[in-house]
Subunit: 129 residues, 2 copies
DNA sequence: TTTCTATTACTACGGGTGTAGTTTTTAAAT
DNA sequence: ATTTAAAAACTACACCCGTAGTAATAGAAA
């Protein structure tokens, strides 16, 4: 439940880990190559730093380190979204959504979907009462 | 439309500027004191750095610098929300909202409101077609 | 005009980030 | 057992951030 703060490259690497479950530095590099080629040492350094913060763990397998995320994607989404809402939208998620709606951030199909999701959330809340 | 990236303290200071329109370093310090006391030099330094990035401007008034935001709150909200959506929610705003709904980030009243806002957005889109 | 004092400018420092080169280790191949 | 090559460890550097002390400046007061 701590504040999670991840920078650009860190996030890119975490995304690969979340996606693959576990990965060696080389594998991560391979995946990222599609977007941009980083030196393997770059990725390695970032992973070490993430490890120091207990955000990833690893075990050895032959001569490689196999890294694994120690925080989930959901947790991270939650924490980072929360920070944003807190910092920029007065702590109210609805203000954020309002902002998105005003900015026309959704396609037509998404809006329908959203409405359904909201109705479900309302049902959930009613059930709880 | 550039990527705007603001850190914690920077954001706090920008928020004061957005709120007041213009402000001297001392005024900003005064406002922030409610939350935490920063040395005036701290605020001054941050403002200088923001100025170097053209995020704030200033003019002299007597012996003080009066600072003013050069980017709007909306712009910043937009840019930072976009980054988040891009980085963590596959570029789809609805995924973010979905996440918020699953996490029960809304109060009952907010949900009603949201639904209305969505309906309005739908209407807007229909009109455009 | 000289002194005081608020404000700004300059400087600094520890820590994080992006980025990667160089050195060392070690499993694998010969 | 020795060589090789892949991977990791170590080191480095420029830049940004939070934070603030100290020095310089310039209105205001005396």
């Amino acid at each position: 439940m701590n504040k999670i703060k991840l920078d650009d490259l860190q996030l890119k690497i975490m995304k690969v880990l979340w996606h693959l479950g576990e990965a060696s530095v080389g594998q991560i590099q391979e995946v990222l190559k599609a977007e941009r080629a980083f030196a393997i040492t770059t990725i390695s350094t970032v992973l070490q730093r993430l490890h120091k913060r207990d955000i990833v763990s690893y075990h050895k397998e032959g001569r490689q380190y196999i890294y694994k995320a120690e925080i989930s994607e959901k947790e991270t989404q939650h924490s980072m979204t929360n920070s944003l809402v807190e910092q920029l939208f007065g702590g109210k998620s609805s203000v954020l959504v309002n902002h998105l709606l005003e900015a026309d951030s959704f396609e037509t199909a998404e809006l329908d979907q959203l409405k359904k999701m909201i109705e479900e959330a309302q049902k959930r809340q009613n059930d709880k009462t």
